[in-house]
């Protein structure tokens, strides 16, 4: 079984209102050193595949077609071999 971890984040230049709100929250907590915050998504997928390469290719397709919206978002993914049938 393979576990894929996909990070989805807004592209540079795309306004991130959530990031801005978190940044101002951190500032009001006194973290004055914070310059900028971007908020994204982290997605885990457990899947069957005959090889790590095949798993990565499949997840790449999932990211392109559904997990990320290429108009506004970038994604990064990693794939590793794991034991077990369920994500915990």
């Amino acid at each position: 079984m393979y576990k894929a971890a996909i990070k989805v984040i807004l592209k540079p230049g795309v306004l991130d209102p959530q990031g801005k709100a978190v940044a101002s929250g951190l500032a009001s907590l006194g973290f004055s050193q914070v310059k900028s915050v971007r908020v994204g998504k982290y997605i885990e997928v457990l899947l069957d595949a005959s090889s790590q390469q095949e798993a990565a290719a499949q997840v790449e397709e999932m990211a392109k077609r559904l997990l990320a919206n290429p108009v506004i978002e970038h994604y990064e993914l990693t794939v590793e071999l794991v034991e077990g049938e369920e994500l915990v």
Binding site: P17, Q18, L66, N69
Partner: protein, 224 residues
């Protein structure tokens, strides 16, 4: 005129649209469940507002893979009038039937209030016969209506006259170029954030929304 109002799990303006189409305008309106695969009997399609699939992942991201969307795409390609309202607009964007994407409102607030919008073009079935520059007051109700498209995309929208509605006065969500609604290049597919179906009877405070549905009827009558 037969109009399909598509119902996704989580749609919540479907009945309002159906009510306005059938009761206010006397049209043959039908609520169509998202598993339907044949929409060939309809003359126009409306994707109503709501929170399809709980807005999980991104608004409209999952609904676009509903079985019905294949026939919506085919109908759009055939030139049939297709209107996406609010969540319906988000679904059309995710499906690639309209360009761009939605971001969270700049204010981070869910904005729910009457909003003035300007009609920019009359070349769509849903603005047919409405003089460009006309201001309509329609309710907005959304948390993700901050329309985004890159500069090249915006230039293309402007050049092709695809910006159908702009917010007049305050922009409630921070959208690029005050965009409240756009159409595809052909003009038959329109997406808009404000809710015309919630402003189609005097009892509800405004009848400006009637103009959108009236435009569709006039367009259809003219093509018969």
């Amino acid at each position: 005129m037969r109009v399909a109002v598509v119902v996704f799990p989580g749609s919540n303006c479907d009945r309002d649209c159906h009510h306005v189409l059938s009761e206010v305008f006397g049209l043959d309106s039908e609520l169509v469940w998202h598993t339907e695969t044949d929409l060939s009997r309809f003359d126009a399609i409306i994707l109503p507002g709501g929170f399809s699939y709980g807005d999980y992942l991104r608004s409209g991201a999952i609904a676009r893979f509903s079985p019905v969307m294949e026939s919506v795409t085919k109908a759009a390609e055939r030139g049939l009038p297709v209107l996406g309202i609010c969540n319906g607009f988000q679904i059309l964007l995710e499906a690639g039937l309209l360009p761009g994407a939605m971001l969270v409102n700049e204010s981070l607030q869910f904005r729910c209030h009457p909003q003035e919008i300007t009609v920019e073009v009359d070349r769509t079935p849903f603005t047919f016969g409405i003089k460009p520059g006309t201001v309509l007051q329609l309710p907005v109700a959304h948390g993700e209506g901050n329309y985004f498209i890159d500069e090249a995309g915006l230039a293309k929208l402007e050049a092709n006259r695809q910006i159908v509605f702009r917010y007049a006065g305050d922009n409630p969500n921070g959208s690029v170029a005050d965009i409240a609604g756009i159409c595809n290049e052909a003009g038959n597919v329109v997406g808009m954030m404000p809710h015309p179906e919630r402003a189609a009877e005097a009892l509800l405070g405004s009848t400006d929304g009637q103009q959108i549905f009236r435009a569709l009827i006039n367009y259809w009558e003219g093509r018969k």
